[in-house]
Amino acid sequence: MAHRRCLHSALLHATALIYLKKSPPLTIVKALTPKPNPMITTSNLEPSWFTPWFYVRHFSSRKSDDSENEAEMEDSSDGEEESDEMASDMVRDYSPEEKEAEAAAIGYKVVGPLQRSDRVFKDYEPFFAVVQIGSHQFKVSNGDSIFTERLKFCEVNDKLILNKVLLLGSPTQTIIGRPILPDAAVHAVVEEHALDAKVIIFKKKRRKNYRRTKGHRQELTKLRITDIQGIEKPEIKTDGKPLKAAVKKPEKIAATA
């Protein structure tokens, strides 16, 4: 802004001088009016008046100042656009590869929507698995429901495969992963995406006149576990329940890749 002020003062000086002088400067003006840089929009006449001052005061640098300013303006506007883009990045459309990569990072994979013909909901089988989703671990069995943080890339009634399995167990066998089991998979179906009950976050500092109330509802996903794979399942016979005798559980430690 300082250069505008000095321009303005210089303009006043020059106008005073020119009015004191006579007409000849006007011809100079006419010759010089085509000169001014189209970038300078504020005062078109000024550079024509000021050509002697121009070189003395390095108005070429003023041009560059203007260009710098405009560049700064452009940068700042770009910055705003970037910040807007950042805000909209949160809701942006992920490409399928990005979706898979992010989902895999959390520990699950979307297989596809549930079809009516799928017989996914089986009876209870006495097998369990310790599975990790995000940062939480659950000990699941067939037919359990799990509440996790909102899983982004799946709709209701979608089938999922949870691939971060840390432990598999059965009445006779336990398979421990180091840290995960590569061949194990737990199948689940998304039951609902819902909000938790409202939690009121109340902050108060006594005798300081400070009180804040904030409400928060966490977004949850409910998964129904349908199948556990990766462990030997004996065929269930109707005669008698197998392997119920007092047998010590042999432990198998599966080495991970």
């Binding site: 209870y124 359990d144 429901s145 509440f147 009634n157 059965s170 039951e191 819902a194 007092a246």
Partner: protein, 129 residues
């Protein structure tokens, strides 16, 4: 929402007023986004209802005979779509704080082994896996 593959939201009533300004968003929603919502959810019965002089709202009826009402006064059509999707995604259960994040009917797989081992000569191991 689907419990064991069965959608829980049966009916959605979209009520709006044709005069009031708070219904502007829902009127736009009915024109622009409600048809696609209906197509995506063929199992859902969507009804538009005109209530003059009252604020607009969405009413969801669930299979467990639960009703959820959401007032959508002064909302943009995108927000209304978000709320409608939330109603569709949810169970009809009462919104209470969760006791546990893991709901199961069979908390232990190997308990028979543990109880048997307790009684056997080898002594009891307290594994509740």
């Amino acid at each position: 929402m689907a419990l064991r593959g069965v959608w829980q939201l049966k009916k959605l009533i979209v009520s709006y007023c044709d005069w009031g300004g708070g219904s502007r968003g829902i009127r736009a929603f009915i024109e622009s986004e409600l048809p696609t919502f209906k197509e995506k959810n063929p199992q859902l019965e969507v009804v538009t209802e005109l209530i003059r002089g009252q604020h607009p709202h969405l009413k969801g009826f669930y299979k467990n005979k639960n009703e959820r009402v959401v007032c959508v006064k002064n909302m943009t059509p995108e927000d209304i779509l978000l709320y409608a999707t939330r109603l569709r995604n949810a169970l009809g259960r009462k919104v209470v704080k969760l006791k546990t994040r893991h709901v199961t009917k069979h908390p232990s797989v190997q308990v028979m082994m543990a109880t048997l081992l307790k009684h056997s000569l080898f002594g009891g191991s307290n594994s509740s896996l």
